[in-house]
Structures are given as structure tokens and as C-alpha cells.
Symmetry: C2
Subunit: 314 residues, 2 copies
């Protein structure tokens, strides 16, 4: 078993990351009939929580590996995290994004000095290509979610939440490859907390729940969701192991619920979040929770939308 | 001289208000060449800082006055603050808004149970009408910014900023009637801080700077600005006295700069703020600041825009 240390990781990251806002949203509290706070990782550096894991990876990378330069595949936000992490640590970084990656994310990666390669229709195809390039160019291949340093970095979100709001009963998080969810679960154990951790997937890209049910890593034949940031056909095996061990509650939501949540945040609270970013709120709004859950935190994972995608909403 | 007590006021308000996020915005830090934080009063209850002053007014109101019910004039946000304050304290509240007040604000006031009256082309005309109605119906008239309880409530923003970020060198705030600016100045004195407080007005509605120069309360013959939330023809006399006594640095910005700041926040940080809300950021971006100002906080005063006004920006 890997040795995780969430408290040490939080210390290591603190000079680099933003301690993101945790803010009660009255419109959500009213709808959910309990206190609802958002953990706004949409205001994290690079616009998404993924910077935590990526920066932790860069800070713990073996110097010989760092020297070769790194390559990663990303539906967007992990690539931005690696790009900025590379810039801050002086490590050459190449990012492969699927061709459908939002322009916002593509431009940001380049602005951080990364080499951007567009390839493949989805994350898994981009990943295959990144692995191929890593062999050809002798770059260190960095997984997007299936790595202890990434998982540990994402877990620091829970440390911040519990320090600021110790009465939190439940934390709801979007699930793509499972890095955030497994990080939160590891952090819960390490911080000796009895907070409930819930993972939410789009019904059309529920690879983690499918794998859990099958009892083994399972690849979805097809995916159907507007939430490109969590559209992952195969979860990480390390993430699956951790999620399987803790066996948290997991929910599914559909695209209509995601779009509704995005619209609600925009109109009632003037918050812009990407479709993957609001999966947690969509889950909360669809859930029937027991009364003893009085304080809920939804992780808003990112804000890297192309503004043009909001045209139907304003 | 009125007895202000910012610390007591902050205690009195704390069960009711949101301690709003104070978050570094990397895109702004880069442009300004120093650390720039936003104090997101756009995430305050009712979507604007005005709730602080309004709630403080409601909490300190004489019971006999409260029983008569209150009436106020507002370009929007103060009216929302009074409406929610009235709901929370069980005080009947009537709000007069100019006919141009954003629909968002009108609907919110009604949703808090206030009686909404639309009258007049701008804040000053609405104010005249509200005073007339207060006499006709024997309602207690509540000024929008020209009252010690309102000023004291707005000042609690500085207490939060200095607690969370004691190294703050400068706080920049939008100025309409002067309630926020005078509150910050009073708070600076009471908290024994040497932070610089700067007020920013649209060049087409600079009634505070015009009055300061004239050495007396001055009413602008005409106003021209897209920032409806700070379009005030005559500042409060109480506010003018306080601002005159402390004599802070004050700047003017034009509509182009306001719109640019709104666009920048939206595209780079995915933050939605109303035109009046970004006046502080517009001021910062136009300013040439000395090097010793290393940490700046801009108050984002509100987020109550009609989403349709963003159509040109997305």
C-alpha cells in the first residue's frame, strides 16, 4: 500500500496553491433544505482542482525523471495543472488533449509554456497517443489520475474543508477517472473524520460504478455526456482499488440535470462552472438525503468553459 | 460625532451575513505586477455588500419605528438588503426602485416579501418618491447610504479583510453615495490600521469628488455611466463629512474601462460582476501604483446583473 500523507502534502502545496473559497449558497440551501456550501476549486490556479495533484506530482518527481521532461494526456484541466506546475518547476511539459478540448483550455496550456498536441476523440484516445509519444521521445509519462502523488494532492481539498467547516456532514464530488474521489477518501481516513464522501458520475460515463459492480476495471464501450471533463472510459486501477476499499455512496445524474445545475448556479448565484464542475450540485439536487445530513459541501471542480457555450443560458 | 463600533457591529452581524471569499486572482496579479485579491461581496447574501448595512440598520432599529414598517429608495442592492433584513426581522418593508432597475433585482426584492414600487428615472427621483410615500403612510424612511448604521455595517468588510490578510496595503472600493467608502475609512481608524483606502467613481457620476472639490454637498446636473449601481447625483452629507475628514485618494474611470474590467473578470476568471461591482478593478487596472503597494484588495460590490446584459460578452 502506498504511503499517503495528506497533512505533509498540504504543507508542501501551500506556497503554490490557492486556499479556495468555501461559501454558503443560499439559493442551494433553500432548495436542499440544509446548509449547502460550495468549495470553489473553480477559483484554484489554472481554474480547476487538478492543479493540486499535478503540482504535488511535480514537487515529488525524481530529478532524473524531471530532466527528461514530462508528457501527459488530459481532457483539459490536468493538462493545465501540469503546464503550470512545469513552468513553476522549470520542467519541460507536453500535453496531449483530445481535439474536442475547449479552446479556453488549449490556449491556457500554451500560455503556461507547455507544448500542446491535439489528438483523439476523447481522453482515452489522447492517453494512448501520449504514451506512444513518451516512448518515442523518452518523456516521463504522467497519468492524469492514476498516481499516488495526484491522488494525495486532490485529497488536500478535504483538509481545507474540514479545517474551515468542521461540522461538514457530507462532501459531494464529481467522478471522472477517480483521482478526486480516491483522494478525498484517503484524506478522510488520514484525518480521522466521519464525514460522508459521495461520488457522482454522469449516467452516460459511469465507468467507476460500472467497474465497482463488475468487481474489476471495466472499459465503457461508448460514452454519452455533455460533461467532457469527467468523460473517462476506464477509471484508474489505483483509484478503483481505493474506492472499492472505502465503498462510498455513489450516484448517477443525467445531462439534463447537469445543464439545470449549471443554469441554476449561473442565474441564482452568478457562478460560472464547467459542466463537469457542477456534477456535484446536480447530484445534490437530485438526491433524497436523510435529515441528519445538515451541512453539505459540493466540490465545484472547475470553471474552464468556453464562454460561447453559455450563449443559450444568458 | 456618531459613535461607531466596528468590532461590535461585526459580532452583531455575524449570525446573518456571509464571511465572503477573499481570493487571489492570478490574471489580475500578473497585470498589476503585485498581489491582487478580490473581496467577493458579490457572494454576500442578496448578491451585494449592501446587505451588511441594511441588516445592521434592521438590528439596531428602535422597536416603535420598526412597528410602523420601513420604506427605502434603492437603485437595487440596498433594496434587496432591506427586503431580506425585513424578512429576517419580521419588519414590513417597501422598496422604491427607479424604473431602470435590473429585473433580477426587482424579482429578488419581491421574493424576499418586500412591496416593490417602480418610480423615477434614477436613484434620486426614486428617493424623492420614497420620502413622499413615507409621509403619506407613516413608514420609517431609511436612507440608502446616509446613516450611521448603514456606514458601520459596510465597514465590517475591512475587519474581515484585515483579519484574513493582514499584509493588505491597499483596499479599492467603488463609490456611489459613499456608504462603503466612509464605512471602510471609519473601520480603518477603529482598527488602528495603516492600510490605504481608495475610492473609485465613474467619471460621469463623480458626485463625491465633485462635492469634495466644492467643499460642500453638490448635486450633479446630469449623469452618464453604465454603472447604474453607483450612479448617484448627490452623495450623503454624513458620508461626505467622513470622506472629507479622512481625505483618501480617489480616482475616476470611464465606461470603457468598466466594461473592459467586466470582460476581463468574465473571460479570465469566470467571475460575473455587475458594472458597479467592477469599478474597483477598473480603477486598479488604470492606476500607476508605487512599488511599495505589494498587496491590493479590490471590493467586488455586487453581482446582480440581468444575464441578458452579458450577451455581448459571451
Amino acid at each position: 500500500m502506498t504511503n499517503f500523507n495528506i497533512r505533509e502534502c498540504a504543507k508542501r502545496l501551500s506556497p503554490y496553491i490557492i486556499k479556495t473559497p468555501l461559501v454558503e449558497i443560499e439559493a442551494l440551501s433553500e432548495r436542499a433544505g440544509r446548509k449547502v456550501y460550495l468549495k470553489l476549486e473553480s477559483m484554484q490556479r489554472t481554474g480547476a482542482f487538478k492543479f493540486r495533484g499535478a503540482m504535488n506530482y511535480m514537487l515529488t518527481l525524481d530529478p532524473a525523471e524531471a530532466k527528461k521532461g514530462v508528457i501527459t494526456a488530459s481532457s483539459g484541466n490536468h493538462g493545465l495543472g501540469m503546464s503550470l506546475g512545469g513552468k513553476l518547476r522549470g520542467i519541460k511539459c507536453t500535453v496531449v488533449m483530445p481535439v474536442s478540448a475547449p479552446l479556453t483550455k488549449q490556449n491556457r496550456a500554451k500560455s503556461y509554456g507547455a507544448t500542446l498536441v491535439l489528438h483523439g476523440a476523447d481522453y482515452d484516445e489522447a492517453q494512448e497517443y501520449a504514451k506512444k509519444l513518451s516512448l518515442e521521445h523518452n518523456y516521463t509519462y504522467v497519468p492524469s489520475f492514476n498516481h499516488p502523488a495526484i491522488i494525495e494532492g486532490q485529497g488536500t481539498i478535504l483538509a481545507e474543508v474540514l479545517t474551515e467547516l468542521p461540522q461538514t456532514d457530507m462532501v459531494i464530488a464529481p467522478v471522472g477517472g477517480g483521482g478526486l474521489l480516491s483522494g478525498l477518501l484517503i484524506a478522510k481516513e488520514q484525518l480521522n473524520s466521519d464525514v460522508k464522501i459521495v461520488g457522482v458520475e454522469p449516467v452516460g460515463a459511469a465507468s467507476m460504478q460500472t467497474s465497482l459492480k463488475a468487481g474489476q476495471l471495466t472499459t465503457l464501450a461508448a460514452m454519452q455526456t455533455i460533461a467532457d471533463g469527467v468523460a473517462v472510459r476506464t477509471p484508474g486501477n489505483l483509484n478503483l482499488d481505493i474506492v472499492g476499499r472505502f465503498n462510498p455512496e455513489m450516484w448517477c445524474i443525467d445531462d439534463t440535470e447537469i445543464r439545470e445545475a449549471q443554469k441554476l448556479l449561473l442565474s441564482e448565484t452568478k457562478l460560472i462552472a464547467e459542466t463537469a464542475g457542477v456534477v456535484s450540485v446536480a447530484g445534490l439536487l437530485a438526491a433524497k438525503l436523510p435529515q441528519e445530513i445538515k451541512t453539505v459541501v459540493c466540490v465545484i471542480s472547475g470553471a474552464n468553459v468556453d464562454l460561447s457555450s453559455l450563449q443559450g443560458l444568458v
